[in-house]
């Protein structure tokens, strides 16, 4: 039996930390799920690099407007109070520190906050998109990821081995097993699945997990 959170559950957990009125950018793919789990009563405003603030759910199939897409090229809708703008203004929002949170996926995260999420090495076609801008722009840069690779190797490491997206940029990691902050160049454990011991978790983590206070139980609904 594999004890770990599903991607939906990781996304749910990340969504709980988004405060009311936050401006948020969700990376394409898995991070987009976070939008589904906004806690009731809190209003977040989602930004997409290609020039929309306050977009909403995808439209029903067949009703897509392909001029109304997000950075993942998926059709979206607008919420009241939306705005369109060009790419330079969009990245002024990003680079200028106007986003409260950016949530990205990761190949690797290091205890010094380095992130690798754009290139698996020299083979294939490299593609970076807006990731390198986001990691140096948003006030808080968080990562959501499985705790280990498909082969079971740690994704949380002392140092990244893959090409970097950004240096010292990540401050919180939501994994399938734990919630970990990055402080002073170290992984600080905040929450873990109750069924796991600290040793269990350390065994699948590539750098030391510090415990500086209470480690809360990571409890997430069935999703």
């Amino acid at each position: 039996m594999i004890v770990k959170l599903t991607n939906n559950q990781i996304a749910w957990r990340a969504a709980q930390d988004i405060h009311d009125g936050a401006y948020v950018n969700l990376g394409i793919g898995f991070p987009e799920k976070v939008a589904q789990y906004q806690p009731p009563g809190r209003e977040a405003i989602f930004h997409t690099e290609n020039g929309i603030l306050n977009f909403g759910e995808p439209p029903p199939k067949g009703e897509e407007d392909w001029d109304l897409i997000n950075a993942g090229k998926k059709a979206v809708t607008l919420k009241p109070g939306a705005a369109f703008f060009h790419h330079a203004d969009s990245f002024a929002m990003v680079r200028g520190g106007h986003l409260d949170v950016a949530i990205l996926g990761a190949y690797e995260v290091a205890e010094n906050g380095d992130l690798a999420n754009w290139s698996t090495g020299p083979k294939g076609v490299p593609a970076v998109g807006g990731a390198m801008d986001l990691v140096h722009g948003a006030r808080r840069v968080a990562v959501i990821t499985d705790h280990v690779t498909k082969d079971g190797k740690p994704k949380l490491l002392r140092r990244c081995t893959l090409p970097l997206t950004g240096v010292g940029c990540v401050t919180r990691v939501y994994t399938s097993l734990a919630v970990i902050d990055i402080e002073g160049g170290r992984f600080v454990l905040r929450e873990k699945l109750p069924v796991l011991s600290l040793d269990d978790l350390q065994a699948v983590t590539g750098a030391e997990l510090l415990v500086t206070g209470t480690v809360a139980d990571l409890i997430v609904p069935e999703l």
């Binding site: 930004h47 306050n54 607008l78 939306a82 705005a83 002024a92 990003v94 200028g96």
Partner: protein, 243 residues
């Protein structure tokens, strides 16, 4: 999300001594007169804020708005491109008496420095002012055989902005040439305070015609009948003292 605040006095209540304040407008067009006057009211009542650094294209005109702010003794330094006007006596007298500092910046460089502040660009190169007194002490560099001056971003603690319509999210439109520096200053301040002629619910502004997206705005206050600096000066108004 509702960024509306009750009145100008509430909107400017957090502005503290020594802050850097961007004030929108070019001459009287787009100048947030009511927000400026609320700031003067606070200073007269409480003695704060003072020692402000003000960023505006001009140095005010007559005895209202920015000129009145300077006249009240609240301004330590002015960063602007054109501190001359038809009736700039307030600034001129203080400047010639060395009682106010001036950083003179070419107008396009001023605009670009403010935008850079808002866009996270710490420095850029411009041909403007190369070889002139205004480039003294600034790094220069050559690109493709041309010489350029390095300029730094400008940021502020607060921006005071005049808009036409705002929605509750802070999306803004402007009116005619009252746009000028206002959208740039919205981007470059930690806290942007906007007076708008009308505040509508979210959804009340077509997303295609939003000039300043709400992400750049923290507070909006309705001023239904804003005064125009030019009209006030033609009526020889003095603040405090005008209706």
């Amino acid at each position: 999300m509702d960024k509306t605040v009750a009145d100008p006095a509430t909107a400017v209540a957090g502005i503290a001594d020594g802050m850097t304040v961007m004030i929108g407008g070019f001459g009287g067009a787009g100048s947030p007169i009511e927000l400026i006057h609320a700031l003067i009211d606070r200073f007269r009542a409480a003695g704060h804020p003072k020692n402000l650094t003000i960023i505006n294209n001009n140095a005010g005109n007559g005895h209202v708005g920015l000129a009145a702010l300077i006249e009240a003794g609240m301004v330590k330094k002015l960063i602007c491109s054109f501190p001359r006007s038809a009736e700039p006596v307030v600034f001129t007298d203080l400047y010639l008496a060395a009682k106010i500092e001036l950083e003179l910046v070419p107008q396009g460089t001023l605009a670009e420095r403010i935008r850079a502040g808002g866009a996270g660009i710490p420095a850029f190169y411009t041909p403007t002012s190369y070889g002139t007194d205004l480039a003294k002490g600034k790094p220069v560099a050559e690109f493709d055989g041309q010489s350029y001056v390095q300029e730094r971003w400008l940021k502020a603690d607060v921006a005071l902005v005049k808009a036409q319509i705002a929605d509750t999210h802070g999306n803004l439109t402007y009116r005619a040439a009252a746009r000028n520096f206002n959208p740039l200053m919205c981007m470059a301040a930690a806290q942007t305070i906007v007076q708008a002629t009308r505040i509508v619910p979210a959804g009340g502004i077509d997303p295609e015609i939003v000039i300043t997206p709400g992400i750049f705005v923290q507070k909006v206050v309705a001023v239904a009948h804003p005064r125009q600096e030019e009209d006030l000066n033609r009526a020889n108004a003095v603040y405090p003292g005008i209706a």
